[in-house]
Amino acid sequence: MSQIIISVGREFGSGGRVIAEALAERFNIPIYDRHLITEIAERTGLTPEEIEKYNENPKKKIISRRVRGYSNSIEDNIAEMQFNFLKEKSDSGESFVVVGRCSETKLKYNPALVSLFVLADMDAKIKRVMEVYELSEEDAKEFIRKKDKKRKRYHNYHCSGHWGDSRLYDICINSTCLGIDKTVDYLENYIRARSDI
């Protein structure tokens, strides 16, 4: 099978991660999301909890500084480790699915990349977050707002393109329209058509 890298950007509560997992299963390839944290933990000797604390977090600008490509921000260093890890995997010819981590930009140089962005209607996202995290409607709404704000800041700091901007991805899809399963079917067909698998 020729190399295929599926990058899944997602709004919080859109089901993007579930879709990414389903795609990994259908193409029988590994997925790097939380697994990425474990891999980095193994390489550095940090605990997964320590990495999780700084994972996909934008750096705190006022207390951070960058000198000749070096940064004192732990968030920046963890992000860079993840980008390097993804590049290594990409350059090794391995096929995989990756969730977030600016992968649509960082791996754009590889022609095997198919980049997706999953969004959803606000009502559907709230419903999903209420179920998964057992939150009230108000709390779910606030949680979504906070998480998306954080992802947006993280992405826009590390990339020149804007998070969720359709011009950055090969395909942007609203998971509310078809539901999770049919969205996965649709994306699978699209990826197979792109990759001749």
Partner: protein, 450 residues
């Protein structure tokens, strides 16, 4: 306030904010601000071609004083001597790094003390300070931190205390000489001081502070540095220092060039060669010695820093030409009531606190004309104020992870290898050490100069 003063201040403040925000690379920020200063402040508001010409300061190249200086002289506008010296030293350092000099030196010293943790800890602190007297602290820490982590993995100790101590000593060593830290180069070239002037003034207090710091760090970190398995380590299995040398010929050449650079710097008040001449000479000799790789070395020069300096000097020139820096000097004189001791305390501690949070290079470049003006009006000797400013900006930078370049590089190298150092961990140990050294420096300046 005149329009030109308002615009000069607005451009300067906006530049500082943009540098802190780190959204746009800092060299673009200073260069853009510099161009704005030339166009808006000098061109539109002041309509002064002379101010533009004085600030760009290109005519300096044609003067004998720029290359060979018998009497001390002060410079204005873009400090080309600083820029040429820094660029020249960058070429030399790239050559040394390529030949494996720094890694060899670190491994050699570790082997000389039989790779025992505490002796390595102490010798690396001294090495960090001594190397930083001649080489930029970024390069020193880049190599020292990497070797420290490598040794910590082999000798099974926690590298964080050692890296923190190395960072602190690098900043301390940098304060000892004219070429150790960019603020000193700016102070030295702007006010016409020599390497020897710095060594016998800031160098002396840096030496005293280094001894105190080594004792302080030893007591603070000794428990963290003890490893359970250190007795069982077979050092014959560790990588040999000679393995660090990538090319013997290049290694010898870079060592000789470094030696020449040190001699030229130490003797420049006797030879009358300026730092610009030394920087240019060292760069040319390095490029000739590394003829095959000359292009590669030139490409590795950090041009962003060079551009950063050019833009910065223009913006500060804007403040100087419009008289803003005189206003600041008058303000300092007023609040100190002409009391020299209070003036020293204000300059030292305000410089230190500011440098702990913002880049100390723009701060020093701004403050040099301020202390010149202050010396002229208050009667306090200019050298006293210059040493105070140098010590304040150099030492203050050690207090936080963002205060100096070495801190950023050291903590970054540690984090990339699985040892994240947050603000809490950093400041808990290094902020008290900074305060101790500043207190020593205050007492030293009072006793020696007042």
């Amino acid at each position: 306030m005149t329009a030109s003063q308002i615009f000069a201040v607005v451009i300067f403040v906006a530049m500082f904010i943009l540098i802190v925000m780190d959204k746009i690379e800092r060299h673009y920020v200073t260069l853009g601000s510099g161009i704005l200063t030339l166009v808006v402040v000098f061109g539109i508001c002041m309509r002064s071609g002379t101010a533009i010409w004085d600030t760009i300061a290109l005519k300096g190249f044609a003067t004998k004083d720029f290359w060979y200086q018998v009497t001390e002289s002060e410079s204005k506008g873009i400090n080309w001597a600083t820029i040429i010296f820094i660029a020249g030293m960058m070429v030399m350092v790239e050559g040394m790094a390529k030949a494996g000099f720094f890694r060899w030196l670190c491994m050699k010293i570790a082997f000389l003390v039989k790779c025992k943790t505490i002796p390595v800890f102490i010798t690396f602190m001294i090495m960090s300070a001594v190397l930083s007297m001649f080489i930029d602290s970024i390069t020193v820490i880049m190599f020292l931190a990497a070797v420290t982590i490598e040794l910590s993995q082999l000798l099974k100790f926690n590298p964080v205390p050692m890296i923190l101590s190395e960072i602190f000593c690098a900043n301390l060593g940098g304060s000892a000489t004219m070429c150790g830290d960019p603020p000193n180069i700016i102070v030295g070239t702007s006010l016409g001081y020599s390497f020897g002037d710095f060594l016998t003034n800031t160098g002396l207090v840096a030496g005293i502070s280094l001894i105190v710091s080594i004792v302080f760090f030893y007591f603070v970190f000794r428990k963290e540095l003890v490893s359970e398995n250190s007795a069982n380590i077979d050092i014959s299995k560790l990588p040999k220092p000679s393995e660090a040398i990538t090319n013997k010929r290049d290694f010898i050449a870079s060592t000789v060039i470094f030696g020449c650079a040190v001699i030229l710097l130490v003797t420049h008040s006797i030879t009358h060669l300026t730092v610009a001449t030394i920087g240019l000479f060292i760069a040319i000799v390095t490029l000739i010695a590394f003829a095959k790789d000359a292009l590669e070395l030139l490409k590795k020069v950090d041009y962003k820093t060079v551009v950063f300096f050019i833009g910065l000097f223009i913006v500060v020139g804007g403040l100087e030409e419009t008289g803003i820096l005189e206003i600041i000097a008058d303000f300092i004189e007023k609040i100190s009531g002409g009391d020299a001791k209070l003036m020293i305390v204000i300059i030292l501690w305000v410089s230190a606190i500011a440098s702990a949070f913002v880049d100390n290079i723009p701060f020093a470049a701004t403050m040099v004309p301020v202390i010149q003006s202050l010396a002229a009006t208050s009667g306090v000797a200019l050298p006293t104020l210059a040493w105070t400013l140098s010590i304040g900006t150099d030492i203050g930078g050690s207090a936080t992870p963002i205060g100096a370049s070495a801190n950023v590089v050291g903590t970054s190298v540690a984090a990339k290898n699985g040892y994240p150092i947050g603000w809490g961990k950093y400041c808990k140990k290094l902020a008290p050490a900074t305060v101790i050294v500043l207190a020593i420096s205050t007492a030293y300046i009072f006793m020696r100069y007042l």
